[in-house]
Symmetry: C2
């Protein structure tokens, strides 16, 4: 099926195109200022077309967020699988870097994912967001077991905050004199300092 022949009436895969277009537009103007009509315009369909697949504005936003968490979950799972056999701290660092990589390369999705003030989460969203969180929790737990620490919460909060914060600062672009370093470089260094701290001190 190749609908390349001069704009047929039926699009081919409009839902896919709409998600891609929305991600692009959100990356450019933010998760609030995009409009359904602009998405339709860029996708080359009438402004009423999106309603057929996503209901309304909120539905499209929810779908984009859900897709984002699925992509993040997959990226984290991949990092986990590819680092099998390495020490828990190294695996934890690599998982963090996969988060950072996802955030900087899927800015539209990332900008929307946590914005539950902009859409009402449904069952699918909760499931897939929970799955991503579970991967983080498992890696942190493994690391704590390895080090004999009981403060899993601190490890989860710390590693999440590091990569989430770096991602947001890098995306905002107000990173001051740090802009000559890539987020990945900085992320690697900072995460390793953090895991060094975990290895070298007791919870207090």
């Amino acid at each position: 099926v190749t609908p390349k022949d001069d704009r047929p009436y039926h699009h081919g895969d409009l839902p896919r195109t709409l998600l891609d277009t929305t991600a692009e537009l959100v990356a450019a103007v933010g998760p609030s200022s995009w409009s359904l009509r602009e998405v339709a315009r860029r996708a080359g369909v009438s402004h009423a077309a999106p309603a057929h697949h996503f209901g309304d504005r909120e539905g499209l936003l929810r779908a984009l967020s859900t897709e984002g968490f699925a992509l993040l979950r997959d990226a984290m799972a991949r990092a986990d699988a590819e680092s099998e056999g390495l020490p828990p701290d190294e695996r934890h660092v690599r998982q963090g870097l996969s988060y950072l990589d996802f955030a900087t390369h899927h800015r539209g999705h990332f900008a929307v994912m946590f914005r539950t003030d902009l859409f009402t989460p449904d069952a699918e969203w909760s499931e897939v967001a929970g799955a991503a969180y579970t991967l983080l929790l498992e890696s942190a737990t493994r690391l704590c077991d390895h080090l004999g620490r009981g403060d899993v919460d601190d490890v989860v909060a710390g590693s999440w905050a590091i990569v989430h914060g770096l991602a947001n600062l890098a995306i905002a672009g107000n990173f001051g004199p740090l802009e000559h370093r890539t987020p990945e470089e900085l992320g690697g260094s900072v995460l390793r300092i953090f895991t060094d701290g975990l290895a070298g001190s007791q919870p207090r």
Copy 2:
């Protein structure tokens, strides 16, 4: 001067009221979805009044961001002053906590401060944002000197990311099972793990 007597024609200090109202509204609906007319409505003035003091929408946003950086700078300077005499790592932690405290208690300002995609920075903005950054840089440098480390960039990026990330996650409210801990508690633990890592390992 007490203009309490039944809504006089002149407001008293409308610019102040407009900034406060905008901060509240932005905290509630985000840095894009607020409207000039809603601000005026809440401030009890006509919708054309804000233009007198801030020119246009962008001007009000810029003023709010600038004020935010001034408040942050003051909070960080206070933390610095109050921790004089303590070891550099402890002082650095306290500076970080002052950032976290500022962010969670001035959500309207914080939501706007780094959004230079929404307004064009002017000289005053650059000065005051630079002043806040300088305080961070000085604290990180002092800590590095104390520990004999050369990677000031990593220390700046790490501590900033930790508190910036925690603040964003806490504000977004999708903090998962971590919600039973306050951002300040978590911030303290995480920052100390980070400084432990700085003390216990060499830059690599």
